[in-house]
Structures are given as C-alpha cells and as structure tokens.
Symmetry: C2
Subunit: 418 residues, 2 copies
C-alpha cells in the first residue's frame, strides 16, 4: 500500500506524543467530538500514522505565540504518513493535507514542513518539467558550463524599445539568458506583446548573425487565459522561455500552465521568505521545490551564496542540492536551479563546489551590467571564474592573466565578499 511521508519540525509544551497525535488526527480523521461514523476500522485504515518522533532539544520560550503555555517546550522532528488513498494522486489535495489546518493548532508552538517523500504514483499523473536541465541546455546551446544570465534592470519603467536596446547590449556581451523582473509582466508602460516583439527581433537577428540564440524568460505571470495569449505571442516570435511567479500562480495554476506550455517555465520564487523567514514556521525549500517540480517548473530559483537577502549560505546550498536531486528512482523530474541575488564572478567557485557540477543558471545583475569593462567583460568574468573553478585554480591566481575576472575581483571583491 503506497503511503505519503512528511517530516516536520515540531515544538510543543505538551508531550511530543500528544502533540503529534493531535496533528495526525486533525490531518486525517478527527473532530472535537468523536462522531458516529468514526469506527476503529476506519481510523486504522485512513488515520495518519506517526512514523518517527525524534527529540532534538528543549527551550523555555515558545518559538511561536498562540500555543498552550508550559514551562518547557520540547522540540523534535516528526515524520507522519498517510495512505495514498486518503487523497489520491492529487497535488492540490496533497497541499491541504501536508500544509492545511495543522499550522493553526494550539497544541504546538512551532511547526515546519522539512521534507516529503511521495509514492511513485505521482510521477504518472505529474510528468514534471517538460524541459528541465537538458531541454534548457539544448535551447540555449550551452552544454559544458553553467548558463550565464542577467536581469532586465531597472525592474520597472523601461519601454519596450528601451528594453530591446538593453537586450541588444546583452546579446553583444555574449550572455546566454535574460530574464524580466518579477515586478513587471504585462504593464501599461511595457505591454508584453510589444516588448516580446521588439526584444525577440533583436534576439532572432543576433541568432541569425552569430548562431547563438539567447534565451529570454518573459515574465508572463497573469490570469491563465491571458498567459495562454502571452505564451502564444512568445511562441509566434520564436521565444524560448516563459517566466511565472510561482506563488502568484498557485499549484493548480502552474499545473494548468504546464499543460499548454510549449516553452520551459522559469519558476520565480518571490514570496519565499513568507514561508521560510521563521525557522519554526512554514515549509522548507527542500519540501517546497519537490511540489513545484511535480507541478512542472523547469527552472527554480534557489537564491545565491552570499546573497543580498537574509538567507544563510547553508540554506542556499541545501536548496541548490535539493533541486538537483532526483524526485523518484525512475523519474528524476529534474529542474534547473537558478542562482540569483547579489551574484558576480566571485561566488562561482563555491557554487560549483555545492552543485558538484555546472548544472545551474547563474544570474547576475549588477555583477554583469556594472562591470567596469562593460557587460561583455561582466559575462567573461563569470566564464573565467567557471574555468578557474573547473580547473581548481583559485580566483586570484586565475585572475593574473584574465583581465575580466581581475577587474571583477577589484570592483566587487572588497565590497561584496567578506
């Protein structure tokens, strides 16, 4: 019998067993008074099971308010399991089971979903990313190193023609990948259809001249019917990628997009902090990215080492490794991790070290555009950093006879690397 497993961080003033039982009951069969139909047989068959309850620590102050008070708060990792027949192979209902009412229970003072293991039946209904790592490499023509990207900046305000001019500079600079900002999709000052037309004209002409087709992730986040129109515009102009803000779409929304999209879906994780800023509340990225891969995201943002946000390098490393880990033994559902936020050549070696490969997109904004030698030197500096990492040569050493890297170290090194 196939089962769904989920591991949580749990904190409670009560016994760990009691709190775990309440959570398991709430998320399978249970109400505040036992109802007539709730037989022992039914509870045995459909009840969630506590598979493991491993104490970690104790504390005297609760991590979250709203829980039953006590003098000691016990912390543990808890693994629950549900029979697949409770929910069926149904991602939206799975979400209600893994991440539903349980966060509201007063029987805990901390609850965070850390990881999930799904039965292979899910890979039947959910084929996952249509392009993933290999499809993205084929479309960009970049096979031997990380895909180097940048972001259209300023985030908001450029006209379609100003965007196209910027894209021309970036194409000339040798970039592999360009993305829109998440704050701007089909805005009045830059209607998507016009922006795509202008930008793709530049990209297609560059491809004709050089043989290199730059991938442009058009922010097409919108209502689904509008996204279908945006998608068709991108396809008509021979675009090769579409960006979607995951939390704006939702799981059902992203799955629906996956069904009609002929383009890789660049999954932007803005809003992630809402789920992860607190260590004792929410959903770890390790669990979260599995659900988005099931829904069909081809590229998944994982932040970057030494980023401009609050997230620690250990957390980023764990996210990066998670996206590269197969989801099922016979169906990896591999997605392409996207490194972004405060990135420049300096973080490349450590990133390669974590990924144990060059299978990631490395998206740098200022680190490329504000390079003192211009965007071309910005791109070169990242490639040189990759070459150094690949050959296990330190950046300062490699920079001795690589100008772009040396300039990057001189410009961004002192201020950005501690």
């Amino acid at each position: 019998m196939s089962r769904i497993y989920a591991t949580y961080f749990l904190e409670t003033s009560q016994s760990l067993e009691h709190a775990a039982s309440v959570i398991a009951g709430e998320q399978s069969c249970g109400t505040f008074i036992t109802t007539p139909g709730e037989t022992p047989e039914l509870k045995e068959r459909f009840g969630a099971k506590i598979e493991r309850l491993e104490p970690i620590d104790k504390t005297t102050t609760p991590s979250l308010p709203g829980g039953k008070p006590g003098s000691t708060y016990y912390q543990a990792t808890m693994t629950l399991s549900w029979p697949l027949e409770n929910v069926g192979v149904n991602l939206p209902t799975l979400i209600a089971t893994l991440l539903g009412n349980l966060f509201e229970l007063s029987d805990h003072t901390g609850l965070k979903l850390l990881d999930i293991t799904l039965p292979e039946e899910f890979s039947g209904r959910y084929p996952g990313p249509a392009f993933g790592i290999s499809g993205t490499r084929t479309l960009t023509g970049v096979f031997q190193r990380p895909i180097i990207g940048t972001i259209i900046k300023p985030s908001v305000g450029l006209t379609p023609s100003a965007t196209a001019e910027l894209v021309q500079q970036l194409c000339d600079a040798g970039i592999d990948f360009i993305k829109d900002d998440e704050l701007m999709a089909d805005a009045p000052h830059s209607p998507l259809a016009e922006r795509v037309e202008r930008v793709m004209a530049v990209i297609n002409s560059h491809a004709q001249k050089t043989g290199k087709k730059v991938m442009y992730a058009v922010n097409a986040t919108d209502e689904l019917d509008a996204m279908k129109r945006h998608h068709d515009v991108i396809v008509a102009h021979e675009g090769t990628c579409l960006m979607a803000s995951l939390h704006s779409m939702g799981f059902a929304g992203l799955s629906a997009l996956r069904k009609f999209s002929q383009l890789p879906i660049h999954g932007h994780r803005n809003g992630w902090g809402l789920y992860n800023r607190h260590p004792a509340l929410g959903v770890s990225y390790v669990a979260w990215q599995k659900l988005w891969r099931l829904a069909g995201a081809d590229h998944l943002h994982v932040n970057g080492l030494r980023n401009k946000f609050f997230e620690s390098d250990a957390s980023v490393a764990s996210s990066l490794r998670a996206v590269l880990t197969p989801l099922f033994p016979d169906a990896p559902l591999a997605a392409m991790p996207v490194i972004a936020s405060g990135q420049w050549a300096g973080q490349v070696p450590d990133t390669v070290n974590v990924a144990q490969s060059g299978d990631f997109m490395f998206v740098a904004g200022g680190g490329i555009i504000a390079h003192p030698g211009g965007p071309g030197a910005g791109v070169r500096s990242v490639i040189e950093a990759w070459e150094a990492a690949h050959q296990r040569i330190s950046l300062p050493e490699y920079a001795k006879n690589h100008t772009a890297l040396r300039q990057a170290l001189e410009t961004f090194g002192p201020t950005l690397v501690q």
Copy 2:
C-alpha cells in the same frame, strides 16, 4: 493617477526611514548597484512611495531572525504606494509586488501585510464573487437568518453511499448547507462523480418532497482540467456549490475556476496559519480576503469565535467584519463569511453581534451531529440561538422554553464555553 496602497507592520534595528526605503526600492526600481537606465525621472515615476511611517513601539529582541542586529528594534506601521502602471490590473503581478522578495530582506526583523487599498480599475477586470451573499441566499432559500451548515465527518474514509446516508440524516435534520472535508476531494475510496451522484440523489429527492434544496459544497479541489470535469458533474446532478482549497489553487488557479464556474465557490482557507501564526510575518486576513474576493471566492472561511485553533476572538471578529466590508465604493464584491471550527449554538449571539447581521454561514460539526437530541435538535438549537440573539434575549433565558437550545447548553456549554 491611480495608485495601489499597502500597509505593513514593520520592525527594524535600523532607522525606520532607511528600512522603508530599502523595501520600497526592492519592490519597484532597485538593485545593489545603480544601473545605467535607472534615471531620476524613472525613479520618480515608477518608484514606490512611502506614504506614512508611524512608530508604534520599541523592543530589544527581534521578532524574526535573519535581520541586521542592533540594540533596539523599532516597530511601525508603514504605508507604501505604487502607481497602477507598474503592474497594470493584474492580480498575479500585484501579489509579486505586495508579497514578493520583501520578506527576505535583512533590513527588517518583522514584516506583515496588514491591509491594502486597490484602485477601482481592479473591479473592471475582476468582477469578484458571482454569487456572494445574495446568490447564496437565493440558492438555499434562506433569507432571514444565518445559513446553518455542517461538515461531512469523518473527514476521510466514508464511501459514497455512507456519505449519502449521512446526508439523508442531515437533510431530515433541516440543515441548510453541507460541506465536504478539505482533506478529501476525488479520492479512490470516494470518487467525486460517484459521491456527487449518490448525495445529490438524496438532496434532490428531499427537495422534491419538502421544497428545501440543501446546498452541498463538493470538495472539487484538483487540477483545473479535472475541476472542470468535477464542476460539470455537479451541475449535471443539479448541485449548487463547489468547494476549493484556496491555497492549493493559487490566485491564478482560482481566477480560472471563477471564469467557468456556474456554481458558487466555497473558499476554504486551510493553510491560513502558515501566513498568520506569527504576528510579525505574513499577511493579515483583512488584506488576504480582499485578494481572494477579487479572484472570485463566493464564500470565505473566517474561523469562529472560541474556536479550537490558536486564533483569538479579536482576530476572528476582524476577519468576519472584513469579509462583510465593501471592496470598492461602487463594487462591493461581497462574499459570504463562513464561521467554522468548534462551533455550536453557544457562539451564535456573539457572532451576530460582530457581524451586526445574520449574513454568515454558521458551520457546526460536532455541535450539530453530536447534539443529544440528534442532528435535528442540533440544527434547531442553532436556530433558537439565532432567534434569541435577534430578539436580544440571553441564551439561558431563551433556553427555558426551547428544548434543543437547553440541551445544547447542558451538553456543550460546560466543556466548550469558558
């Protein structure tokens, strides 16, 4: 020029002005190095504005980890505004603006979206609930009092025929509304099509005999193409409601459902705790419910007074009032608030007092099914509590010559009401 306004709780170790500027910059035009296209004119036109920054309090311990440390943490309410042209009339992009990367910034140690005010342009593209309060009253035939509902329990495990038997008892009891549990939609042990067929046969036959059509909110949460099939099954069997777990659907998902649904959408908020368990992180229900009403939810769960979860009565009251408050002066987009969780007759008067009307669904599980006089007396006890509240008579007084209410007070009163 139309603008979008959002008010946040903010906590920071830095100056409030600095933190607010960083957030405003991150969510409009900004990167860690000023890029060439970022002109003063562009910043002036597209930059988010700090409209108001009102200090509340100071503390010596940060509410959230990951922020820049300091000796004092300043708390404030902050109102930002954006020109509508930054995002256009686009709910999914609005989400990325209001609730995107800002939660990850290390320049704060607490950030929660408290409320939003949207320009009326939104009501043009987003017509909101198709049924709302009046449509739901018409479909149920209940006009003068709250709509009284209950939940199919046990949550998981009943066969379609066992569900239909239970529904028969509930119809006989005089119930107005019945909902599936959020944990079970189209599961192998209770396929939706078979469950709908069996249950609607009971409901339709009851309607033919009595003239009373019970509303059954079928949990149809699923992928969108499957939801369309589920929807059509419900319509074919003359069902009058469809339930969807909001967070499983996402905004784009719910909007798409709204476009094809001929049925009221019963919006279940499971997962709400994830966004609200921490007072200094997430999204208040007051802001959240506005977005779901725009997306088209007809019914919105608001928890209940003296509920079984962690939420305070003050918070529930604020949520209930929020759902009843018009969204735009010329377009109220009214949704029906749904009271649920640990409810029985006892909470009715206080709920009426908060709502200042009977415009809500009152969903009681054990409070109806486990009533000592049976489910019929359970329903009667809630109606009697409404009559008492409406006539401003205390429950114990009214119970003197109303048996069902008296039994409810005797049974649930001592354990459930403090």
